[in-house]
Subunit: 465 residues, 2 copies
């Protein structure tokens, strides 16, 4: 015990939950520390949401440039430097991580690089890294250690033959071919990225549809669009018998009792995440866990008083924006600033092209809940802005109560879907009705008009279909 | 009187007010006709909002391609074919106009090409064009003849030396230099477009700021951005003594008593609109007018019973989305489907880069109304998505009641501002507070998070600044 300092709050983990929670405590004038073992910003900022968006932007631009003649623009020898694409993405992460470090400082958060350990309620130490050996007393602890990518057992994730998104984000060599296992948001985004830059992509999903959590119609539309772009997609298919060779990986695809061998230069697995719980809690600290995720109450407190959890470490949906909300809400509650709120509603986004975004219930979920619902749909082919932009794939679908019109969920596939979903996010949060969306004047010409027209379509009042 | 047919409604004008009103009446099962003298879709679709968006898309893409190396993408000889850029834009208008014609048919609207004349309440004839001589009886008349571009007196708008946006949209020759008179949305969009494609642009505005209706801070930020792009801007400046020569136009710029002569290949005037009222009303039909615009009541009825007006012809703000809303609202009221609603709140958009969009009160207006307001601001430089997209100019500014937090207005300058404004449009419509925006989980990483952070900044709770 080299040192003791007493804090109001120590946050373990500097990702979207951890840094946001620490900053919020700083805003509230609390004495707070944040311990991060790697880099401020966590997975999201360093190895997830942010760097992938930089990669996808490059891929999109390359695709647009190859087709620029439809806009009257020409260019010769359109090409790319894969290493530079990756490099730029790392640069963006680096810039944002520095930004977070600046924000921590600005909000008077003591920031420690190292591995935080909860020794007991009110006691935290640093067990590895630059600040190893430091020991702190604290009134509250927020565990926000997040998750890491799940590995396929038995495979060596060497970053060349076998990768998760994390290794892929650093790999400056472009594979000629790749097998992507798992067609959730991460798998689909990498499939789009590699394919857009000319890698031969095979995308394999165990469940019956890609983006399994999205509305069936959206998934089907995306499936067709990605196939048209050249991606080989196998749904309802499992991967067996991984054979990693010197120059390639071979996998058996099993579907309906049949097996087919496929081979590619690289395998990227995107099969979910596991909790970062090892080495976070001393042996005598035993909050209740659920499959290694911390169980928390409505105030984000674990079953051990004074130890809170927020973000990926408390379980799904494993989304940065949910993590941030949880941490801020937990900290507000901890210090008497409002009643903490557990997350029930959140948007989900996939940044391939066409983009996919949703909030609230899918049609399937509405059916399963036996709700009396109506569907309103509007295609982007009928949107003047989409046609003017030569970007008219996709549609908006809104699900609402058949009697009251209250919006249960909204689903968008198409250009800027991930931005457009914000309006429906607010609508569901505020318990708005489709009529209220319809009666709100939307700027013309914008893609957002499609949100209004889908709402109007619910009652047969859309003008442009 | 070659023929008489009795209608429930005859709409004169086939633009965003006219066609939408006609379609709505068709949806309500009414017998309806729409008379358009030129092409379905009106100015917006044929000579305004839609074709300009196609032009701007080409200009944006050209700019992005010239700077693609920051994304790791390279190309040689990036160039454009101006005639093709214009041609594509005409093609988009043509496609959308056909779409509107299809929608009219689908909704059983009798569509006549010609010039409609209100002979009396309940009587309409066609005085020119294909269906000249037709005469109709009708229960209701909706005048939706819109506006046309105001001309500078004494100038010959030949489409070569002197143009409005209308002539510019058809001109397949790119001028080497252009003087744009008027820095409202149209003037600014053409300034961006021409400058992006290499034309030397001088933009002149009589009022103290470009985009005079927008928030001062937004206008200032855009002013700097456009100047940085290479546009010469003169605000608080009037144009005098126009001299149109064989190969150029000369104009004196007058500011603070000083005059400077400037010269360009072409002059584009964007100084507002005048009502399309000539030849619409027979001499004996005299609804009250206000500077040639139809005066209407809360039910959109003019002072003559049975004659309604909607869209640009009833006066400002002269926006397509407002026109559509008015016409649909008027028609609903006419046929007993709900109470008509006059427009008080609407978004405004300018599609240059960075884009500008707003809804509700500017800070200046809030001051003038002596409201007790607060400002929340968030810059896109602090947005992960904006940085990843290399598009981080601009900010979000929200103005709300200092006590209740109710949102008075929102102002966005930056990438996709015209789409992002939709959420704040709904928020103001629903009388949401900044706290409700702040408590709505926004997807990460999106530009829309900046809307949430600006709301949070109002109370010092933004995480990322």
């Amino acid at each position: 015990m080299a040192e003791t300092t007493e804090y109001d709050l120590i946050v373990i983990g500097g990702g979207p939950a951890g840094y946001a929670g620490a900053i919020r405590a700083g805003q509230l004038g609390k004495k707070v520390a944040c311990i991060e073992q790697e880099r401020a910003g966590g997975t999201c900022l360093n190895w997830g949401c942010i760097p992938t968006k930089a990669l996808l932007k490059s891929a999109e631009l390359y695709q647009k440039m190859k087709k620029s003649d439809i806009h009257g623009i020409t260019a010769k020898e359109v090409s790319f430097d894969f290493a530079k694409v990756i490099e730029r993405s790392r640069g963006v992460s680096n810039q944002m991580a520095k930004g977070v470090e600046f924000l921590l400082k600005k909000n008077k958060v003591d920031y420690f690089i190292g591995r935080g350990l909860v020794n007991a309620p009110g006691m935290v130490s640093i067990t590895e890294g630059e600040h190893k050996g430091k020991f702190f007393k604290t009134k509250n602890i927020l565990v926000a250690t997040g998750c890491k990518m799940r590995h396929i057992p038995g495979l060596d994730y060497d970053g060349v033959r076998v990768m998760t998104s994390r290794e892929a984000l650093a790999a400056t060599h472009q594979p000629k071919s790749v097998i992507i296992v798992g067609a959730g948001a991460i798998g689909v985004e990498f499939a789009y990225f590699y394919n857009a830059l000319g890698t031969k992509v095979t995308l394999v999903e165990m469940l019956p549809q890609i983006l399994p959590v999205e509305d069936d119609e959206v998934s089907k539309t995306l499936h067709r669009a990605l196939e048209k772009q050249g991606i080989a997609i196998h749904t309802g298919t499992t991967c067996e018998n991984f054979r990693v060779g010197k120059n390639s990986v071979k996998v058996d695809l099993a579907k309906d009792g049949k097996k087919t061998e496929i081979e590619a230069e690289t395998l990227l697995s995107a099969i979910g995440v596991v909790a970062n719980i090892d080495g976070v809690l001393a042996n005598n600290v035993k909050p209740e866990l659920d499959r290694n995720f911390l169980k928390v109450g409505d105030d984000y407190q674990t079953t051990v008083k004074g130890i809170y959890g927020a973000g990926d470490i408390i379980g799904p949906p494993w989304l940065a924006h949910v993590a941030t909300f949880e941490a801020v809400s937990a900290v507000n509650g901890m210090f008497g600033h409002g009643t903490p709120k557990r997350v029930k509603l959140f948007p989900g986004c996939t940044y391939c092209q066409p983009q996919v975004a949703s909030t609230g219930l899918t049609e399937k979920a509405a059916k399963e809940k036996k709700l009396d619902y109506k569907v309103g749909k509007f295609p982007f082919t009928a949107s003047g802005k989409a046609v003017a932009s030569a970007d008219s794939d996709g549609f908006v679908k809104v699900i609402s109560d058949a009697k009251t019109g209250e919006i249960y969920g909204a689903h968008i596939i198409g250009a800027e879907a991930t931005e457009l979903i914000a309006e429906y996010g607010l609508a569901v949060e505020m318990e708005a009705t489709v009529d209220e969306i319809h009666q709100t004047i939307h700027a013309h010409p914008t893609l957002s008009e499609a949100l209004m027209e889908a709402a109007a379509a619910t009652t047969g009042e859309a003008i442009h279909i």
